[in-house]
Symmetry: C2
Subunit: 225 residues, 2 copies
DNA sequence: TGCACTCAGATTGTATACAACAAATTGTAC
DNA sequence: GTACAATTTGTTGTATACAATCTGAGTGCA
């Protein structure tokens, strides 16, 4: 375990490290791990390791079967479907609210950004992040709802474990662009109803892409059930 | 600590007990507690007590300031507002989905139940639970989304800590009945759009009641900020 | 061979001792 | 009396020892 100048609790460090390992595919869903393993790897005792694992268990990343052991949790297709229902609901209402809350200035920025992306369309490579990320970010920033953000953040991490790259399917980038364009247009018109509708369609569309990726692109091996 | 025939982990028992104390107002928001206190009260060691408290901390019921101590978390007005935005989104979409998923049989039951309530209207006392609870339950049962239920369950517990009785404000019972009637009508007509709309209005209405109760009925003392 | 049983190893569950730190208290000088 | 430093007390943070339980291999017996 590297330096610890700010005296953060060891359990927090262990938590971050293990979560990183999860997000980086260093720990594969379904595989078994032991507390002793992390204890030795990090050079700390079992107590903070256990704390970290228990926290991750509550967040759905690990599973513990009593007196047997720890396992890296997978995500079932059902989980994905359920998560996307929640995302659709929350991001939809966020868009509706943002239509009233976004400042004219930010809307300007977003439109400029969108236009710039549009011009690059032909030449740009698709390896960058989904250009719509910034739109989502600005929406959540405007809505400023911590409870909502907490839920969505968790799901983002869960999904990121499996397919950051779902947006890289053929044709997905362009489609995604169009969807974001629709959202931004509704926002610019301050039309909350349409913003919510467009956002929901966008979420549903990305759900389809991800499910596609899951079943076709052999991500299947990481999934439960 | 009473009997433990099923060998449930002590930490689980501690968790349930402490959470009960929270929901029963035995532990007041803002007050300080110590691990030793629960350790002695339950006759167990610090380890499972700590686990329980850490779990409750993650769920937002307790707060820990490092090297200082544990405090019972309050809920700020902002928290309530935020929670209700999430509830509105989730329960709304649940209603929309339920319009397709509810069986004709359950819809029949609900309509019968609603009618029965309606006839009792004059004589019944309002001390029972919100009659709409069963409607919500049936909706969630039909939607059958564990992720969604997890989030809503948590918020229910959080809010229950403060005002089970918010629905008992003058006039609230009748209003609530009418709102539920609208929801059920839309569901019966299999009109998801209207069901979502009616549910949202219902949630907003109950939010207002609760905020009213909070600021007027001297619940204020338990709130932060 | 097949089956039940025992026992050793591994892993989590719990208890407890000690370390690190914060706050309160006390003692002292002025 | 007040200000300030030293000490004492109380609390959480971490380490570690032991208990409880599960797993699986090996053994004995039919």
């Amino acid at each position: 375990m590297e330096s610890n100048p700010e005296k953060k609790p060891l359990s927090d460090i262990a938590y971050s490290q293990i979560k990183n390992m999860l997000l980086e595919f260093e720990l594969h869903p379904g595989s078994a791990v032991t507390e002793i393993m992390f204890m030795q790897k990090f050079g700390i005792s079992r107590t903070p390791v256990r704390q970290a694992l228990q926290r991750l268990e509550q967040e759905g990343f690990m599973r513990l079967t009593p007196r047997k052991g720890w396992f890296v949790a997978g995500v079932s297709l059902r989980d994905i479907q359920e998560i996307f229902v929640v995302r659709e609901a929350l991001e939809g209402i966020a868009a509706r609210l943002a239509a009233e809350l976004l400042t004219q200035e930010v809307l300007g920025e977003l439109n400029d950004y969108m236009e710039k992306i549009s011009n690059q369309e032909q030449t740009k490579d698709v390896d960058e992040f989904d250009p719509g990320d910034i739109l989502h970010d600005k929406i959540f920033e405007a809505v400023n709802n911590q409870q909502m953000n907490r839920v969505l953040r968790l799901y983002d991490d869960q999904l990121r474990r499996f397919h950051i790259m779902a947006c890289k399917l053929p044709g997905r980038a362009l489609l995604s662009y169009k969807e974001h364009y629709e959202i931004l247009r509704a926002l610019t018109e301050r039309n909350g109803e349409n913003a919510e509708k467009a956002m929901r369609e966008h979420i549903q569309s990305s759900k389809l892409s991800i499910l596609d990726a899951v079943v076709n692109e052999s991500y299947g091996k990481w999934f439960e059930c």
